[in-house]
């Protein structure tokens, strides 16, 4: 039977993600076996190949960076009880605006255009999230639905740009922009790897978020609204300010991630810019306990699933949707394991009771 703990267990709040991962691996093995593949080989593809060489590791970082950046922003939202589900849309708009700036560059542009690209991405993400904040604030529209539906609007906007005005005239009518000038490329950290300064920005974000959440009164006020709205009202912390801060911060983060992607690994705008990072980051945020440091680990883990899914496709001939299956499994087992944080399992024998002597009331 489950018995409530007197206080949430510290041990299990750390052990639960680990147990969830173990369960995910276990279910994954069953899954591989059921698909007629060697489970050990499957695990190898998912969990060993992505870390076995320096190059593989750097690719892991390339994918972890946007996940981490978006998740940092989402953590601010979720901690203040603002349910921004549309980071994907903010990511796309950030990418579109950043792409627009990148398209302005020519051979003679200064290196500083990269800064303009990143700022454009941030502005785009903020504007898109700001729409949700405005509708929520002004008309009390549900931010979950609004932000989610704006994802599809954002994707259509991207499609319009790449099928229409921004289509590469020399691109054989493919729906894509021309490849951005080399000068717009986000500076890389080292040669031979695709890891860019985005990783540094993400780690800076981790430190910044930690300070904001745990060392500033503004961060405290931001979170009280999520933990106990009545206490926030009592203290006089503005719920509107918290709403706008949360959405603008997460919009900025998602937009930045979008800019880093299009001006980094992708190098042009295509209909395939939305890769689901905005949704995967939700899982990253929760698996990382909405804690800046925890999210570093979960971002790497999710990135591993992305790469593992691609490898499973090429090496094992399995569908790519396996990535989604693993991501979902992880979130699901984590939610289940979290029960142990607040409850403990106690094994009890069914008590040997005497059948009650029930007399009819008269």
């Amino acid at each position: 039977m489950l018995e409530q703990r007197p206080a949430p267990s510290r041990f299990w709040s750390l052990a639960s993600p680990v147990l969830a991962l173990a369960l995910t691996v276990l279910i994954g093995m069953v899954l591989f076996a059921a698909l007629g593949k060697d489970p050990v080989r499957g695990l190898q593809v998912f969990f060993w190949e992505p870390i076995k060489s320096a190059y593989a590791l750097s690719e892991l970082m390339v994918k972890a960076t946007p996940l981490l950046i978006i998740a940092l922003g989402l953590a601010v939202c979720f901690r203040s009880n603002v349910w921004n589900i549309g980071a994907e849309g903010q990511y796309v708009i950030g990418a579109v605006l950043a792409g627009g700036v990148a398209l302005l560059a020519d051979k003679d542009s200064s290196r500083w255009i990269v800064l303009a690209i990143l700022l454009a991405g941030i502005a785009g993400g903020m504007a898109w999230a700001g729409l949700t904040a405005f509708l929520r604030d002004r008309f009390n529209a549900n931010e979950i639905l609004v932000s989610l539906m704006l994802v599809y609007v954002a994707e259509q906007l991207l499609n319009y740009m790449v099928f229409g005005p921004w289509k590469d005239p020399a691109g054989y009518n493919f729906p894509q922009t021309k490849t951005f000038e080399a000068v717009t490329q986000i500076p890389r950290l080292m040669t031979g790897s695709r890891v860019s300064i985005g990783l540094l920005l993400a780690l800076l974000g981790v430190a910044g978020l930690w300070v904001f959440l745990f060392r500033t009164r503004a961060g405290f006020a931001q979170q009280v609204g999520g933990l106990a709205p009545a206490a926030a009202r009592y203290a006089g912390f503005s719920s509107r300010k918290a709403l706008w801060t949360a959405l603008l911060a997460s919009g900025a983060a998602a937009g930045l991630a979008g800019a880093l992607e299009v001006a980094g690994p992708i190098g042009q705008l295509t209909p395939y810019v939305p890769a689901g990072y905005g949704f995967a980051a939700i899982i990253v945020a929760f698996v990382g306990r909405l804690h800046p440091v925890g999210m570093v680990f979960s971002a790497v883990l999710m990135s591993m699933f992305y790469i593992g899914g691609e490898l499973a496709q090429s090496r094992l001939g399995l569908p790519k949707s396996l990535t989604g299956v693993f991501q979902g499994l992880l979130l699901f087992t984590l939610l289940a394991c979290d029960t142990l944080v607040a409850y403990r399992v106690r094994f009890v024998r069914a008590p040997a009771t005497v059948a009650p002597v029930v007399k009819e009331a008269h």
Binding site: P6, T216, R217, A231, R233, A235, K359, A361
Partner: protein, 504 residues
Amino acid sequence: MSIPRLELEHITKRYPAVVANSDVSLVVQPGETHAVLGENGAGKSTLMKIIYGAVKPDAGSVRWDGQPVAIRNPHEARALGISMVFQHFSLFDTLTVAENVWLGLGKTASLAQVTRDIEAKAAEYGLDVNPSRHVHTLSVGEMQRVEIIRALLTNPRLLILDEPTSVLTPQAVEKLFAVLKQLAAQGCSILYISHKLHEIRELCTRCTVMRGGKVTGDCDPRQETNASLSRMMIGAEPPALAHRDSQPGGMALRVKDLRLPSLDQFGVALDGVSLEVRAGEVVGIAGVSGNGQQELLQSLSGEDRRAAPSSIELFGQAAGAMGPAHRRHLGLHFVPEERLGRGAVPTLSLADNLMLTRTESVGRSGWIDTGALKRQAQDIIARFKVRASGPEAPAQSLSGGNLQKYIVGREIDARPKLLIVSQPTWGVDVGAAAQIRAELLALRNAGCAVLVVSEELEELFDISDRLYVMAKGRLSPSMPRAQADVSRIGEWMSGLWDRESAHA
């Protein structure tokens, strides 16, 4: 002697953090009105839930009419003839009285039949209830009558009442007691849970006293004094309060004809509330809760900012539109009645919870000095004798009384010029309550203006210099404590002060 109606032998129930009942034994005779007396947290409610089948004991046995029984759920309890009226009503606001009762009975009879039954029971016991009224139009006292009728319709042989008078005016209490005495005379046993000594001495013929999960006394309350019962209940007599006359100073708070429509359909609209609180006096607001106290306090604290700016004056400034932080800056501190979730964030530490209303440990740039914050929390814990594992303890890990001491301490420690406290001792044990009252008086003597909203009349008589009564969103004229007595206040609680002031 006849066979006891109910016998509990060596009942023990452990929860993870606490032993709620330890080796508790209790005997209830037929037709006996048996009090279970104890402070909050003494284990009374757990014991009643065990009898009612809502909680399973870890050890011990239950006998009913001499037969051993294991009551597995409330349904079986009702089949035995045990009925319970809970402290918090379980009625659907949007249904009528008859529909509510009908739902609770399990649909064996038709609605029309149930309506006739309600009328018959109501007439038999002089309980005035109209079965076709909707529950949301009833007063709290009337809702309780509905609960009692619902319990009586099962023809109980044991009726359990959990703190039934906490929501009633003194006049309604008298009516309730008449009904209970009639029931007992007909042979129904009654278990009456309370911490109000005078009620138990008036009503009950037997009394089991509990402290810390154990039985500490078994007596005939009619033979005891308040002091002797209190000794059994808390192990000591509460210290008497030293009270000296007040010397009211400058105006701290003036409310002029405050009118506010209610925010939701079950709220209460404020209808021309006027009141004054001066420095160096304690002003009490009496009344059964749900008569506009919540709404008034929200607009005084700044959580509700709809009031006309000039209708609330703080130290001479029009404050109706100011937010809570602004008012706090002027010297107004407020202790709300909900501790968890409003007065404190349940999952955050005591130290972090300081930052809801205190900014001493926050630098100009908004940077938190965590060391200073912890020291500040530790000081409050020590000064107000809060039982907690330390400044890092989450607010939800404290008992209600200890958390209340911490929150009251947090606000008193801020040296307010005006302190507003709602239900200062709700759910607080007698010792802590005495301490909180003494702190409030000390604050008054230091020249602070204090406004106390409470349901406990005795508490208000203890500490107030002047009293207002709130009823149906209106506030009575103020009355000096010397002129206040229970029956007059009780009448005012029903909103009947106009008549009196008309020919005064």
